[in-house]
Subunit: 131 residues, 4 copies
């Protein structure tokens, strides 16, 4: 195991800040001198490639069947790895562009909440046109 | 602004845990009774659609030109919104599947660090075959 | 309507060769002096963006519901437009790289037929491991 | 080689109609009884996955470097295979939805030509706002 991970405690969601994850990714990239490849164009492409690999796990199944993965530890581990790949590109892009990701997320969630008011979309994936 | 965001403090990366972001997304989804649409298959599709919208911002430019977005506040805001959309699907998928995202990220980063040892890929985006 | 389409007959699948479609796309690109933007990297990105726009039409529905689009002329027209966008990028990429697309398609279909023998995958989307 | 390809002549672009390609794909699918998996939702997902695999070939390079693939027979063959995969999903989707693909392509090209008049976009990937 590389030095930077030796003896590391696990980092679970309840106690891990987004900055801690960004910093881990930044260190990984800097040590390899990979900033030169991390243009926003390349990172957005890479993120899209990983998103497709995640999606491939659910390609031929129904929506219902896709839920089964939650009860299959081996496949769940593979899916978690693909989700992590997407997240790592997102962290790298935040680092490259100097964007505060948590702030972007909560801002967008607030905007989306305004666009989809609870009373007009409860139980519907589109806006109720009669309200 | 919807009740759940009224009077909210900003949530910046240094002090925001992944759990706090997951919880904000969970509340947004539950209030709208949208869990029924959030199968892993649908969420992975949605994530991929948002990844493409993010990528579209960098479609016709060179890698160098794509870096200019960091100095253009208006475009940077648009890009931050697309990144947030990707992140929101990732948080929703973590909630649906019960995956600890930070843990998945740090595990995957450790595996990737083993796959790409510093001495064999410094300054190269592929492994040096001579080492 | 631009000169190049004036008075044009419709071009249906039974009588339209892939070369005729490639030639139409080539003329469109050349007239606009857009070859300079049509690197394989950009075209592959553009294709992926259009693929996501096509996919978005089927995002929140079940597999069964997605079949309904065939009976809804307005939505079918939108879907046909997105399919055309994907195809146009594919034709442009064939032109840029000098690839014979029909040949590539039939070669790949032959390879895939070997990989998925009828007797081992009839009615299954994976290979039957017992045969 | 499976029966359906035995003794087949090559099918190059200049003499191959889109219907001939659609028919080859239809036969491949029917023989395997795979129509049941070919909902528009699944096919659009599959197409998007293949588009990402195509894009991955050009991930870490510049636009200029991505052109080198045209002079590298081995990599060109791999890229041709990925392009074929995208095309096969497009043909399958045309079959499932009963869409005339050539017609959709030429219609969309005519619409795009109207949207991007030669005099306003020659040598630019956006419309010239001053004309």
């Amino acid at each position: 195991m590389p030095a930077e991970f030796k003896g590391k405690q696990r980092m679970p969601d309840p106690t891990t800040t987004v900055s801690a994850l960004r910093e881990a990714m930044r260190r990984f990239v800097t040590e390899r001198d990979w900033e030169q490849f991390h243009s926003p164009k390349n990172l957005a492409m890479g993120l899209s490639v990983e998103a497709a690999e995640l999606m491939e796990h659910f390609l031929w199944v129904s929506n219902e069947e896709s839920c089964d993965v939650a009860r299959d530890p081996a496949r769940l581990g593979e899916v978690a790895d693909e989700m992590a790949d997407v997240a790592l590109y997102l962290l790298a892009l935040s680092n490259t562009l100097g964007i505060d990701l948590s702030d972007a997320i909560t801002n967008k969630l607030a905007k989306t909440a305004l666009k989809y008011p609870v009373e007009r979309c409860r139980g519907r994936h589109t806006l109720d046109p009669t309200q």
